[in-house]
C-alpha cells in the first residue's frame, strides 16, 4: 500500500564552503563581508532532504514535492538554476535574509506561514523535510518549531533513512551518539524529518527536469513575499574568527620508521 505523500522540504542557501568567510559587525545583526557577492549553494543537508524527498515521491505515485526557501531573491534565483536540474519540485520562495545570524524562531514563523499558505496542501499526508542543521546557523532548531506551528508532534532529527513499510507506516533511522542509529516506527504522516546525509548520491543534472522546474520557479520568485525576520531581543556581543594559523612543521626527510617513532611517541604522551 502506498499512499501519496505531500512532501514539503525547507531549505535555503549558504555560502559555498570553499569560500573564506569574514564577519562584519556594526549596528544591528552581524553579517558576512561581501555577503551578496559570495557564491552560494543549496544548504547541503537540506539538499539531501530534497533528494530524499524526490526519491520517495518518485517511488510513491501521486506524491508531490515543494521546496520552501527563504533567502535574498536574487541569490535564490542563482542557486535555483542549478538545483532545478536535480529533482522535480515546486518552489515556494520567501524574500529575506539567509544569514546564520538570524534567529531560528523567526525563520520558523516565516516558513510555517508560507507552508500554511500552500494551496491544496493535504496536511494529513504531510512529510515536513529539512536539513537537521544548516551550514549557516547550524542550530538544528528551525524544523522543530515549524513542526510545532503546524501541529506536528512526530518529529525526527539526524535522519539517515526512511522506509515506507507495507502497512504504510514509516520506519526511520536517526543518528544518535557513538555512530549508532535509533530505529523508530511512525504509524502514519504527518511527520517532520530533519535529514542528515541519507543514502543517496547527489542526482546528476537532468536538463528536462530543469526545464520543467523553471516554468514554476521564475513565477514563484516573482511572487515571493518579503520576510524581513526581525531579530528582537537577540544581541551579539562579538563575532570573531578563530586564531587560525598554526606554525606547521613540514617534515620531509625522515624515513617511514623514523616518522612512525615520532607518531607513536606523540600518541602515547599525555
Amino acid at each position: 500500500m502506498s499512499i501519496p505523500f505531500q512532501i514539503v522540504v525547507c531549505g535555503s542557501i549558504v555560502p559555498d564552503p570553499l569560500q573564506t568567510l569574514e564577519p562584519v559587525t556594526g549596528s544591528g545583526a552581524p553579517s558576512l563581508k561581501n555577503e551578496m557577492m559570495l557564491p552560494a549553494v543549496l544548504d547541503p543537508w537540506a539538499g539531501h532532504a530534497l533528494f530524499e524527498a524526490a526519491h520517495l515521491a518518485a517511488k510513491t505515485p501521486g506524491s508531490k514535492v515543494w521546496l520552501v526557501s527563504l533567502g535574498p531573491k536574487a541569490k535564490l534565483q542563482q542557486v535555483m538554476m542549478m538545483v532545478a536540474q536535480k529533482a522535480p519540485f515546486e518552489l515556494v520562495a520567501l524574500d529575506g535574509p539567509a544569514s546564520g545570524f538570524c534567529d531560528s524562531f523567526e525563520t520558523a514563523a516565516a516558513l510555517a506561514s508560507a507552508i500554511e499558505a500552500i494551496p491544496g496542501l493535504d496536511r494529513a499526508r504531510l512529510l515536513l523535510f529539512g536539513g537537521w542543521e544548516s551550514a549557516s546557523r547550524g542550530a538544528g532548531s528551525t524544523l522543530q518549531m515549524i513542526g510545532e506551528r503546524l501541529g506536528i508532534a512526530e518529529q525526527f532529527q539526524g535522519v539517515d533513512q526512511l522506509t515506507v513499510r507495507d502497512d504504510g507506516s514509516l520506519e526511520i533511522l536517526e543518528r544518535i551518539e557513538g555512530g549508532q542509529h535509533q530505529v523508530s516506527v511512525c504509524a502514519a504522516p504527518p511527520a517532520a524529518l530533519g535529514w542528515a546525509t541519507g543514502h543517496l548520491p547527489e542526482p546528476r543534472n537532468n536538463p528536462q527536469v530543469g526545464m520543467a522546474n523553471m516554468r514554476t520557479i521564475m513565477p514563484a520568485l516573482q511572487r515571493s513575499k518579503p520576510a524581513p525576520l526581525p531579530a528582537t531581543g537577540l544581541c551579539f556581543a562579538s563575532v570573531s574568527l578563530p586564531k587560525q594559523q598554526r606554525e606547521t612543521r613540514i617534515v620531509k626527510d625522515l624515513s617511514p620508521e623514523e616518522i612512525a617513532r615520532e607518531i607513536v611517541a606523540w600518541v602515547k604522551e599525555d
Binding site: M145, Q155, S238, V239, S240
Partner: protein, 335 residues
C-alpha cells in the same frame, strides 16, 4: 541571577551520563537558584547522584513512556518541567535526545533556544552564550532578552560535576503521556559490527580518499588499507574519522573501506568531534574538511603532497610520506 533549570534525561540504569554532569557544572557556575529536572523511566539513581549539588528542588517526569528518546514525550516532559520550575534559563546537555526535543519545548513556552553552546557565562551581569556559526568558522557571543531561554551545551566544554551521592527528595510531576504515533523499536549499530566512533577517545584518526587511490605501483591496495586502519584503531583505541570523498565512495558501492559510513565523516557536512589529538592520513586537508577539526587540539598529518592543505597552518606537523609505509611501521611499534 535568574533562576535556572538543568534538564537531564537518565540513562537506562536511571543514572546521569557525563554530558548531563558537565551541564550541571555550567549551571552551578552561573550562581542562580538551581532546579534540576529529570526525565526517564527511573530517576531516583540520578537524583541520588546529584543530591549534594546544591539544587533547591529536584523535579521529575518519569515512567516507561519516558524511557526511550522520542520527540512527543520528551518535548512534553521538558515543557512540563520548565513550566513547573518557572526558570528563566533552562540549560541542558546537547545530547541527540535533547537536541531533538528542546527546540519544540522552547517554542511551547514562547521562549528561545540556542544550541551547540560552547560556553554559558555571566558577561556584563547577564548570561551570555558562546557558539560557532557557519560550521565552526566564526565564534560569537550572544545574549537574549526573551525568557525562558533554553541553552543546549555541547559535550566536552566543562568538567563533569562530581560530588558525593546522597538521599534526594524528588517531586514527581503528574504528566499525562501525550498521544504519539511513534514507537522506538531499537538501536542499530554500525555495519561490520565494529564500533569505530569513540567520542571519549584521546585520538581521532582520520582516513582520507588517498587510501583507496592508485599508489606508486599503479595498483589500489584497499585490503591492506583496511587492515592498517583497523589495526591502528585497535592498538591506539582511537576514534575513526573520514573525509567526505572517502565515505562518498563507500556509499556508492565501491568495495573499499566498507566499515566506514557518513557517520564517520568529519567536516562541513560531517561531525566536529572533540579530541585531544588528531592524526590525518591520506586526506588533503581542504577547508570543508578541516572546519570539522575545530575542537581537535593537537593535529598531525601524513600526506605525500608537501603542498596539501595541512601544510598551510592547519596542522602542527605534516609528515610528507607514504601513509601505507608509515602506518605499517606505526602498527609494528604499537603491537
Amino acid at each position: 541571577m535568574e533562576n535556572i533549570l538543568l534538564l537531564a534525561h537518565t540513562e537506562t540504569d536511571g543514572t546521569l551520563a557525563k554530558p548531563a554532569l558537565e551541564a550541571l557544572t555550567a549551571a552551578l557556575a552561573l550562581g542562580g537558584e538551581l532546579t534540576i529536572g529529570l526525565v526517564g523511566a527511573t530517576v531516583q539513581p540520578a537524583a541520588g547522584q546529584v543530591a549534594n549539588a546544591g539544587a533547591v528542588r529536584i523535579l521529575a517526569v518519569c515512567g516507561d513512556a519516558f524511557a526511550a528518546p522520542r520527540y512527543a514525550t520528551d518535548a512534553a516532559a521538558a515543557e512540563a518541567l520548565a513550566r513547573a520550575s518557572g526558570a528563566a534559563l533552562v540549560l541542558a546537555p546537547s545530547t541527540s535526545r535533547w537536541a531533538r526535543a528542546i527546540p519544540g519545548a522552547a517554542f511551547r513556552l514562547n521562549g528561545r533556544v540556542d544550541t551547540h553552546a560552547t560556553n554559558l557565562a555571566i558577561r556584563n551581569e547577564v548570561p551570555a552564550v558562546s557558539r560557532w556559526f557557519y560550521r565552526q568558522r566564526m565564534e560569537a557571543v550572544l545574549t537574549r532578552a526573551q525568557r525562558p531561554w533554553f541553552v543546549l551545551l555541547d559535550a566536552g566544554c566543562c568538567e563533569p560535576w562530581s560530588g558525593e551521592p546522597g538521599a534526594a527528595t524528588v517531586e514527581l510531576l503528574p504528566l499525562e503521556v501525550p498521544a504519539t504515533r511513534t514507537t522506538v523499536t531499537g538501536v542499530q549499530s554500525p555495519k561490520a559490527g565494529e564500533q569505530t566512533i569513540r567520542p571519549d577517545a584521546k585520538l581521532l584518526f582520520v582516513a582520507g580518499a588517498g587510501w583507496t587511490k592508485k599508489q606508486s605501483d599503479g595498483a589500489v591496495h584497499g585490503a591492506e588499507a583496511e587492515g592498517l586502519i583497523r589495526g591502528f584503531l585497535r592498538a591506539a583505541n582511537a576514534s575513526l574519522g573520514s573525509s567526505k570523498s572517502l565515505v562518498d565512495m563507500s556509499g556508492e558501492g565501491e568495495a573499499v573501506l566498507n566499515f566506514m559510513s557518513h557517520l564517520n565523516q568529519i567536516g562541513q557536512t560531517g561531525a566536529t568531534p572533540r579530541h585531544a589529538k588528531g592524526l590525518s592520513t591520506c586526506c588533503h586537508g581542504e577547508e570543508p574538511h578541516v572546519v570539522g577539526w575545530r575542537f581537535i587540539t593537537q593535529r598531525r598529518a601524513v600526506n605525500l603532497d608537501a603542498n596539501c592543505g595541512w601544510a598551510r597552518g592547519k596542522a602542527d606537523v605534516l609528515y610528507v610520506a607514504d601513509a601505507f609505509a608509515v602506518m605499517r611501521a606505526v602498527n609494528r611499534l604499537m603491537a
